[in-house]
């Protein structure tokens, strides 16, 4: 009973907080504490969203497509790199700093270069997303592989398991949980990465839409677009959660 009350609390407390914030925002703009040409009110943002909905859906589809392609590519690269780093110690030592350095380069800084090299098409967007998403995947998978109990590997060897069998039966499942935490972070990076790449040139996508409405001072539509980007990121994260739920059935038993 008390846990049910607690669960209800977990829903209504953030909901009420959100409601208060929105009402305050609406109030501040309506009263004129902040000039309306600088900040649209929530109701204006909603009506802009409804008005531009067909347009937004088209652009969102483009962005989601780039993000998904880039994410798949990033995960594939991350997987291969993590496996090589784990299997061959020198590779791990050699690549560890490079992987970390690649993360210190801000995506906003590389995006113009990618556009310069690969044009205004989909390729620079997918590459930027892949570049920003492979890191969390690599790090989480590599960490997961390395966390495997030595005794477990020894035990597998006494069962005459081959390297491939040890990888498949022990290392991969052990890394699966950490992989999904990494993937959840990557999923949010994916949308942001795609939008940044679109800012710098392109024909469709939420980043392109944002640049256009900003130039025409359509701040209400800009806010609508930001809300949609957040929604897309949240949706992608939920998808990752769902995939984790499906792929790791033993976790459900452990949580009980």
């Amino acid at each position: 009973m008390s846990s049910m009350l607690h669960d209800a609390k977990r829903i209504w407390v953030p909901t009420v907080t959100m409601g208060i914030l929105l009402v305050t925002w609406e109030f501040v703009v309506r009263v004129g504490l902040i000039p309306n040409f600088l900040l649209p009110s929530p109701t204006q943002v909603v009506s802009a969203f409804i008005e531009d909905f067909p347009l937004l859906v088209g652009h969102a589809a483009a962005t989601l497509g780039e993000a998904a392609l880039g994410l798949v590519l990033g995960v594939l690269i991350g997987f291969v790199v993590a496996v090589l780093m784990d299997r061959f110690e020198p590779v791990g030592l050699a690549l560890n700093p490079l992987v970390t350095i690649s993360q210190t380069v801000p995506p906003v800084a590389i995006a113009p270069l990618l556009v310069l090299w690969f044009g205004y098409g989909i390729l620079p967007k997918v590459l930027l997303v892949a570049l920003t998403t492979f890191f969390p995947v690599t790090v989480s998978l590599f960490g997961g592989f390395q966390s495997v109990d030595r005794d477990l590997v020894d035990l597998m060897r006494t069962m005459r398991a081959t390297e491939v069998q040890i990888f498949w039966h022990v290392k991969l499942p052990a890394a699966a949980e950490e992989f999904f935490s990494g993937l959840r972070i990557s999923a949010t990076y994916a949308i942001v990465g795609a939008v940044i790449a679109e800012w710098l040139g392109g024909f469709s996508g939420l980043g392109v839409y944002m640049t256009r409405v900003r130039k025409s001072f359509g701040y209400d539509r800009m806010f609508a677009c930001i809300a949609l980007i957040s929604a897309c990121s949240l949706g992608l994260m939920r998808l990752v959660d769902l995939a984790e739920y499906m792929c790791l059935p033993w976790r459900r038993a452990e949580r009980k």
Binding site: D149, D151, R157, M159, H169, L248, W250, A253
Partner: protein, 262 residues
Amino acid sequence: MSDSDGAQMRAVPALEAKGLGLSWDEGAHMVAEGIDLHVGSGEVVCLVGRSGCGKTTILHALAGLTRPVEGHVLLNGVDVTGTPGQVSYMLQKDLLLRNLRIVDNASLPLVLSGMPRKEARARASALFAQFGLEGTQELWPSQLSGGMKQRAAFLRTYLMGNDVVLLDEPFSALDAITRYELRTWYVRMAAELGIASLVITHDVDEAVSLASRVMVLAGSPSEGRPSRLVGEVLVDRMQDAVDFSVTHAYVDAKREIMMLLG
């Protein structure tokens, strides 16, 4: 192994170590020297020693995971020095894979050797009752108690198909009552299945309550004194004694071992 080997098996011990010398650094510093031991079918032998005297190193060498710098490991008379996969191996940690159901954990050795999953599950499942695991087939390891997990680990060990099992402090992580139950259970199962067991432990009580023969290992490799076997104590265990641990035989064996340990 065919039935005609049966007579010979009694003469040749299931597991035998001859003059084993072990080192952590390729012979520069010896951990243990002159280790001679033998375990027969259905027999439970214990190797007792203080922490850090190199017990686990000896176990790894017997399991073929490491190569000794001196001596040989023989299995039913055949030299298997440095070859893993010839003897089974069980640790204090149950080492069940948490992503596999109990029946899949138990049947893992069969699957690894190429048996189809369905067949392997059926073979393992048929043994669940005998191992006191009835009804746990489809559960995850996290849903089992410590004692049940060790039973499942022992079933997996048994399904490795070797007649020699090495155990490293197998029951020391369990609570006192479960530990007591499982020791009794293990001795019975090992005899029933005809398994030769070598248990390695620092716990004198564990040694006396499991083994019919206890070998005492003493030395301090970290101080430059390699461990050696300093004595052997026969435990006169009364079969089916309800409480062997309060008998004179038990206490006498325990006292003798403690004196040898120094």
